[in-house]
């Protein structure tokens, strides 16, 4: 199957007063049309920066997407497009939902106008048509009385409702790719499931691919086809959701899964990964996970591990596996 | 027994606090200075202010003439600035005169010497009136913020009312009624300038009273006054310092405004403001501009320096701007 989005060797660095922070350091992965890819990791691992890099929205300064990075979307490298060409992609072919529904909508504009804005811009509708479409989108995302809500301001809606509005806005132009950056983290647990279901549902309807960024493995299990695990700016493991959950390879993935509460398991105690995420200004010389890894060997502290191909669509970045050279 | 236990608790908290303070205050100052230093204009302004205060303190050593001494001869009135000393026999005998760097005024007084001495007056007027309004504003804001309810309501309506009266006409009316003098200028500027401080001390109070550690202090039975002085006020110090710095600027400006109407510090005592009275006559502005130019520039530089320093202080002290 052909790739919809192919990120190759993405490096996004931040130039701060205290030094250079390699927030994303050589990340490669791809998304196929219509599939949902989970990008998983602790906060600070670079997953959000990866997502805003894809839309070229990294604040510059201090951030910069480095030379040699490639973000190929439907065959064209987004990093080579002009700003005007890039604007035609944002909100149209690739759209985005953010973590904080409470602050992600502009407080001084009506909800309908905020949705209509993308339609006027990308679809060439007139005002009346855009308003009709906005109401339709609100209905689609399950907002009651859309004819009234279309004229409301964001402050009159709850967090869950606002996230529905964000989804309506993101899907208004039938995008090929929807990037969802922790879309449920800020919501109540009961609302989280509703929003996830809605996203999965709608994504099928409009046949969009989804890049779902989350630290919650439960969310991944529920919605994703494939998973990319990131740690300290690098992809450490990649695979389909079944093999990641059933047969995790990287010690970090193993740790993440162990720290996940299970509804069926009935464990007494949750494990947690010892230690903390390394300071991005002072990364370890070898494998970035080595200081926290219970299987670390001497070589892990000396050299950075390369990617080992374990099978079709299955890779890991760990010295435990690269001796057998791609087969296990 | 119960009371004894309480006191014991208090003492423990105090101990813990003082340890925490001594631990961080040096570090806090260091962080503060690092941030303040970034603003080059503010650093220059700070040195400028130190320089101006030095000049004011050592005025007798710097001024070549008696600031109130008129010239030996009417011919010396309105003499233009010069950097050369000169000789004259207007008094009958040959005398050597020090240079009049800023020229002489209409009574033949040396403008430079007057500017030097006037700095003492203007900076003092600023300092004293700011001290007065900081005190009133802080106390007023503390009482309103602490007691809340009807007390707060009445006190803040009074603040609103005073804020609704434009300062300049109010100052002028009060000065005209109470006869202008240097003391009245300081008192009146102090009595009219405190409303802003009262407002934010109260606001600070309301937000701080909700914090956990103040609630905790209340729970273990700390007294009102103790809470105010040991918990809330230290937190309000930073904004008060900023307001005081900006207040110096506005007090000096207000004094010069009053002086423009002849209601500021009264001659012959020189203040930068009343030296500017010369500027009222457009003809002197054309013929002898130095009489108004130099004191005007000194006011401007002083006020500008206070504003720059105040702004940099706010940036350096405001924890919200931490990135």
């Amino acid at each position: 199957m052909e790739k919809l989005l192919d990120i190759r060797n993405l490096r996004t660095y931040f130039y701060t007063e205290d030094g250079v922070v390699p927030a994303v350091d050589g990340v490669s992965f791809y998304i196929k049309p219509g599939e949902t890819l989970g990008v998983v990791g602790e906060s600070g691992c670079g997953k959000s920066v990866t997502s805003i890099s894809t839309l070229r929205l990294v604040p510059n300064p201090p951030g910069k997407i480095m030379e040699g990075s490639e973000i190929i979307f439907e065959g064209t490298d987004l990093l080579k497009l002009s700003e005007a060409e890039m604007r035609k992609i944002r909100g149209n072919k690739i759209s985005m939902i953010f973590q904080e529904p409470m602050t992600s909508l502009n407080p001084v504009f009506r909800i309908g106008d905020q949705i209509a804005e993308v339609l006027l811009l990308h679809q060439g509708l007139n005002k009346a048509e855009a308003r009709e479409k906005a109401i339709e989108m609100l209905k689609l995302v399950g907002i009651p009385r859309p004819e009234k809500v279309v004229d409301d301001y964001p402050h009159s809606l709850s967090g869950g409702m606002r996230q529905r509005v964000m989804i309506a806005m993101a899907l208004a132009c039938n995008p090929r790719l929807l990037i969802a950056d922790e879309p449920t983290t800020a919501l109540d647990v009961t609302v989280q499931a509703q929003i996830l279901d809605l996203m999965n549902d709608l994504k099928k309807k409009v046949n969009a691919a989804v890049m779902l960024i989350t630290h919650n493995l439960g969310v991944v299990a529920e919605s994703c086809d494939r998973v990319v695990v990131m740690y300290a700016g690098k992809v450490v493991e990649e695979g389909d959701v079944y093999s990641i959950f059933e047969d995790p390879k990287h010690p970090y993935t193993v740790g993440l899964l162990k720290s996940m509460p299970s509804a069926v398991g009935g464990q007494d105690k949750l494990d947690s990964i010892p230690g903390v995420v390394p300071n991005p200004l002072n990364l370890p010389k070898g494998c970035r996970f080595a200081p926290r890894c219970n299987k670390a060997m001497d070589i892990c502290r000396e050299k950075q591990p390369g990617l080992t191909v374990l099978g079709e669509e299955r890779t890991v970045r760990c010295f435990l596996y690269n001796r057998e050279d791609g087969v296990k | 027994m119960a009371e004894l236990k309480l006191n014991n608790n208090d003492a423990q908290i105090e101990l813990a606090e003082s340890a925490e303070y001594s631990d961080t205050i040096g570090k806090k100052l260091k962080i503060f200075w690092r941030r303040f230093r970034k603003n080059k204009l503010a650093v220059i302004s700070l040195f400028m202010l130190i320089f101006l205060y030095m000049v004011a303190i050592f005025a007798p050593l710097i001024a070549p003439y008696d600031p109130d001494g008129t010239a030996d001869d009417v011919m010396m009135a309105d003499m233009a600035p010069s950097f050369h000393s000169y000789q004259s026999d207007v008094t009958g005998e040959m005398k050597t005169y020090a240079p009049n760097y800023f020229g002489r005024d209409e009574l033949g007084r040396d403008v430079f010497s007057r500017c030097v001495y006037a700095g003492r007056i203007s900076l003092t007027v600023g300092f004293v009136s700011v001290a007065i309004f900081i005190t009133i504003g802080t106390v007023w804001g503390c009482i309103a913020g602490y007691y809340g309810g009807i007390v707060d309501n009445i006190m803040m309506r009074i603040v609103d009312a005073i804020m609704s009266i434009p300062t300049m006409p109010l100052l002028i009316t009060v000065m005209a009624l109470f006869k202008p003098s240097i003391y009245n200028v300081m008192i009146v500027l102090g009595l009219t300038g405190w409303t802003g401080i009262a407002r934010f001390v109260r606001a600070e109070f309301l937000s701080l009273m909700k914090r956990d550690y103040v609630e905790a202090a209340r729970c273990i039975g700390a007294r009102d006054r103790r809470i105010i002085f040991s918990h809330v006020l230290p937190n309000a110090v930073a904004p008060i310092i900023v307001a005081a710095t900006m207040g110096m600027a506005s007090a000096i400006l207000s004094e010069s405004g009053l002086s423009f109407f002849g209601l500021g510090v009264q001659p012959p005592t020189a203040s930068w403001g009343n030296m500017l009275m010369n500027a009222q006559e457009l003809s002197t502005m054309v013929e002898a501009p130095w009489k108004a130019f130099y004191p005007g520039m000194l006011i401007f530089i002083t006020v500008l320096s206070f504003n720059f320093v105040g702004d940099a202080l706010r940036d350096a002290l405001d924890p919200r701007l931490k990135q």
Partner: protein, 320 residues
Amino acid sequence: MLKYTLKRILQAIPLLIIISILTYLIINLAPGDPTAFFINPEKASRLGPDYVANIKHHLGLDQPLHIRYFKWLGNVLRGDFGESFFEQRSVMSILWEALPNTIILSLVAELIALIVAIPAGIICALKRNSIWDYIFSTISFIGMSLPTFWFGLMLILVFSLKLGWLPTAGMRDNFDAFVFTDRLRHIILPAIVLGMGGMAANMRYMRGAMLEVIRQDYIRTARSKGLSEKVVIVKHALRNALIPIVTMFGFSIPALFSGAAITETIFAWPGVGRIAIEAVFSNDYPLVMGNFMIIAVMTVVGSLVADLLYAVVDPRIKYE
């Protein structure tokens, strides 16, 4: 909205009462003979002590302070501030004539201030720490630090006396008809002088507000929609950053009237500010008190308007 407006008007009443008490106390607690505040001293000396005593009784000046206050307040509520000592007409008619002049001057000053401050503040925020940021910031600090009258006189010196481009004083040369260019030429200098302080302050606020707003999540959302940077800034960011500026407008009204006192005096502009100063110097006490009350009412009305505007620009403000 109507309910909210009515509520704000009701809230303004105690404020005005406190202002009237303060005004009354300031004038009446001043050292000296209170008779002098109510009887034209010229008349008094001409007509002798019996007459003064008679008038005193007639005016109720022999009664205690609080009784006198309520009498005065009663008259004020009927719009009667008494007679001016020096102009033989009612205080109300003098102020009524001068007030529009001050309002026009203040509005033009505020307009000039905002026209300069808003774009400059935006540039400072967007190009933070650039050369433009430093230039505009320095200009705004200079604006804050100039003594008003000195700045005014310097402008007159340069633009009126040296260059001869603009008139030195007054509101018009043509007294027969309204000539727009004539009025415009006269208002430029005083409006610049009066607007200077507000311009400086608004530029700082605009810069701060804009810096705050462009960090917000909804700006990132706007960019992610594919909007151009111009639309993001001018539509999404500016609309939010203007909210604090509107609030500031309410606070700036007393400062405008305060500045008007000096500016109007320098430029001989026939407004309430100049009348206030002249009244103080000529001991025209009814005029002083009337002036204070009118200015206070204008300030309260101004903050009311600012509050309502605030509710218009920020949909989050509830009217209840």
